[in-house]
């Protein structure tokens, strides 16, 4: 698929990457900004990215912007903010159906690219002629507050957030990409305008376009816009460093829940650009990545302890988290079994069938990337920070070469850091956790 990939540099630190693909009904364009992650700016940036999709100078009213996008056959404007290692990625993108599927032969791809550039380069202005409007900010701040406060509604996610925040305090991985409640009052139009100007000027930028629409007009639009921008690219920070584990922390927090959510946070000293990240990814798949994994087949299928038990490894931070929902009385049994399964991998005692199944699973996942427009786009967005851009096929070749002993080595390097349990409240009468008495 990637023989016809087109790459150009539009300005200092601004890459344009087009992957022409006519297999899909849609095209997408995403503009990614990479800059250093900081606890101080994370809330500001979360609000900023919501404001950018709220309105723009051309369509200062929220519903006018939505109407313009809807008339472009439901062009989908999406913004996001994510933390990758010691960097933050801000994204403003648009997804649209290809011109060839529009009934009257209308062409919308150029208009969609123009709309995207309006959102990025010409945000709505207040009556005082300065960037962003006060009432938009008010709505966005309230939405941000409600969003942050509602995190607790998804108990499994909430538990994962809590474990990460406790375990990684003071590290980039401990910073919450969605921002903090206590920092919202400090977010002002002035601070937002300064932050956005700084990002436009100093961030590394990667524009990724995938789909059947002609990329040349898109390249022209963004060349024109970045020419008008004062660029002074800042250097991105070094990857996070591995923090030795001195003792295992066990933390239980109680809340009104039926089911206990358990998170085991581990550290592995394998962080991009380490050569062993591919082996660590395979290790995590073998450990707890789906229905072929040891955790699924033992903690769930053999011991019937849970409905889900899975692991996920982040190559940008060297962290691995195991998540499961269990009965509190089974907590120790689950922890012991999870540790035992990790030891089986570390001791190279897993079967060839288990190893091969996990590898096939990983290879299929790389194959699948080329069949989804969103996955292709995301693949290149994240690769930008790896310093070396590979195709999914090249990554698959590296995965194929991973050996059993490399996987075992990764597991042997994993250190349990924090065991976090979100458990039901203790009822006053019995001293027993509520709802946990029957089994």
């Amino acid at each position: 698929m990637l023989n016809n990939m087109y790459v150009s540099t539009l300005a200092d630190g601004v890459t344009f990457r087009a992957i022409p693909e006519t297999r899909f009904k849609n095209s997408c364009i995403a503009v990614h900004f990479y800059h250093p992650l900081s606890r101080e700016e994370v809330t500001l940036n979360a609000v900023l990215i919501s404001l950018l999709r709220h309105s723009c100078a051309k369509y200062p009213e929220y519903n006018e912007l939505r109407r313009a996008a809807s008339m472009l056959y439901g062009a989908d404007i999406d913004t996001s903010v994510s933390n990758i290692g010691s960097c933050q990625m801000l994204t403003v993108g648009i997804d649209m159906i290809d011109d060839r599927f529009i009934p009257d032969g209308e062409c919308i791809s150029g208009e969609c690219a123009e709309l995207l550039s309006e959102l990025i380069f010409r945000p709505a202005m207040g009556d005082d002629g300065k960037m962003f409007r006060e009432d938009d900010l008010e709505v966005t701040l309230r939405n941000a507050e409600e969003r942050i406060r509602s995190r607790v509604n998804d108990k499994a996610e909430y538990a994962a957030h809590r474990c990460t925040a406790i375990m990684c305090e003071g590290e980039p991985a401990g910073i919450e990409p969605g921002g903090y409640l206590e920092d919202l009052p400090g977010v002002t139009r002035e601070a937002l305008a300064a932050a956005w100007k700084k990002i436009l000027s100093t961030a590394e930028v990667e524009i990724v376009m995938v789909g059947g629409a002609d990329y040349k007009p898109v390249e022209r639009i963004f060349t024109r816009e970045f020419k008008k921008t004062d660029r002074c690219r800042a250097k991105l920070p070094e990857p996070p460093v591995y923090r030795e584990v001195t003792e295992v922390r066990e933390i239980t927090e109680r809340m009104d829940v039926q089911q206990s959510k358990m998170i085991m946070g581990m550290r592995i000293p394998i962080i991009e650009p380490d050569d062993r990240t591919m082996a660590a990814r395979l290790m995590s798949l073998l450990f707890g990545g789906g229905t072929t994994s040891l955790l699924f087949n033992n903690v769930r299928e053999k011991l019937s302890l849970c409905y889900y038990c899975s692991s996920a490894y982040s190559r940008s931070s060297g962290l691995l988290f195991v998540r499961s929902g269990i009965e509190e009385s089974n907590f120790q049994k689950a922890v012991d079994e999870i540790k035992r399964q990790l030891a089986i991998i570390a001791n190279n005692e897993f079967t060839d069938d288990e190893f091969n199944a996990s590898k096939l699973f990983a290879l299929s996942a790389f194959d699948n990337i080329s069949d989804s427009i969103g996955s292709i786009e995301q693949w290149y967005a994240v690769q930008h920070l790896d310093g070396c851009v590979r195709t999914p096929q090249q990554a698959a070749e590296r995965m194929k070469a991973v050996t059993r002993s490399q996987v075992a080595e990764c597991a042997s390097l994993a250190r349990l850091d924090t065991v976090y349990l979100l458990a039901p409240e203790i009822s006053e009468e019995s001293g027993e956790p509520e709802g946990g008495g029957e089994q």
Binding site: R23, F24, K25, N26, E61, Y62, N63, R66, R67, S70, M71, Y73, G74, A75, M96, I97, F101, P103, V139, N143, E146, R149, S150, V152, N153, D154, K155, A156, M255, D256, V257, Q258, Q259, G290, T291, T292, F296, E301, S304, L305, C306, Y307, Y308, G325, E327, D353, N356, A357, K359, L360, F361, L363, S364, D367, N368, S370, D371, S372, I373, G435
Partner: protein, 429 residues
Amino acid sequence: MSSHSDRFEVREDRLTGETVYFTTHPTGVKIAICPKPEFKTSYAVFGTKYGSIDNDFSVDGGEFTRVPDGIAHYLEHKLFENEDCDAFERYAKLGACANAYTSFDKTCYLFACTREFDKALEILLDFVQKPYFTEETVRKEQGIIAQEIDMYRDNPGWCVFFNLMKAMYRDHPIRIDVAGTVESISLITPELLYRCYDTFYNPNNMVLGVAGNVDPQRVLEICDRLLLPKKQLRIVSRCPEDDGRVVQPFIEQEFDVPLPIFQLGFKERWRVTTERERVLSGIIKNAVFGPVSDFYSRMMRKKLINPGFGCDYMYLSGVQNMIFQGMSHSPETLRDEIFEEIERVRRDGISPRLFECARRSCFGSQISFFNNADDIADNLADDLMFGTDTFEAVKAAAEVTVDEGNQRFLEQFELSNSSLSVVRRSKEA
């Protein structure tokens, strides 16, 4: 085209550019295949029109049987285990990614793969046709499913939905969680599982949807080899009579949530609707209440909604309604605002400009459905099970007018036939 067997009815769709091969296998299984040779991935779904609402049924005119709640879902979990080995293990050897799910009205078994499609399809057809339930294996699953049930009980959105169903439907099994309760699943036995299996997994009640890098002829050959002929059964699944009216206009539950969560449902008397009517329902709710509307901006300014606000149309056997959902400081005030807006639109009609915005958006998303093999196969399987027509929906989105929209609007939102479900913290907290 000519190289393919004349056993297929071939449909070429102009708007999406897709070609689909349809056939009914001699065993009774309905099949739809959408080849996408330019993709690496292939996806297949083998489904039965059997979900949690089918809990009271009769076969070939016999007595009705009432089975424990959650049994369709339990059966789905247990079917993965055959006598000699587990289906997940067999898939794992191919690198195929397999899954299954049960909803109110169907159970689906599926896989996606990028190699060895033939072998993966063989596994799918084989294990779904080979039930193996014993006292021991059935007991083993109870711990896993009990944890699944507990997981949902921690989800306030799930609670607000089932409370709404209880407020809107007196007896319809839509009131019951797909997974049942810890008590109801304890009543499940191998005999009951076999009885449900032998009824609803009759080939006559099953469909196969395939999309991706596949050859329709090869798929049919595998089906010929693996689909087992059985006596075709006449299944009647009955739901208690419903008078078409909601049970109660308001329902509330205490739940420790930072902001009240609500769903507001407008019930319609159930009837079979056309694809065009259902597409219209989707368009008018977006034109009147979606982000393009004045209503949405006004509610945002009044701080009554946040970007989580939305509205969905629900349609399945015996159930037809429109549900607004989101978080709000005052769901009651928001309900009154929605009522007022409905009355205004009944009087003044839908803005033609906003109808056009919503129609174009709808067309765009209908086209986008055809981006991925899994969505295509799922939609085709649904069409075969429920008599819907995915391509007809695309065509409708290209054609419908605001006059039709206004007409549909009048049927859709009856203020006196609505219920509001809220979960919030206790008032004194």
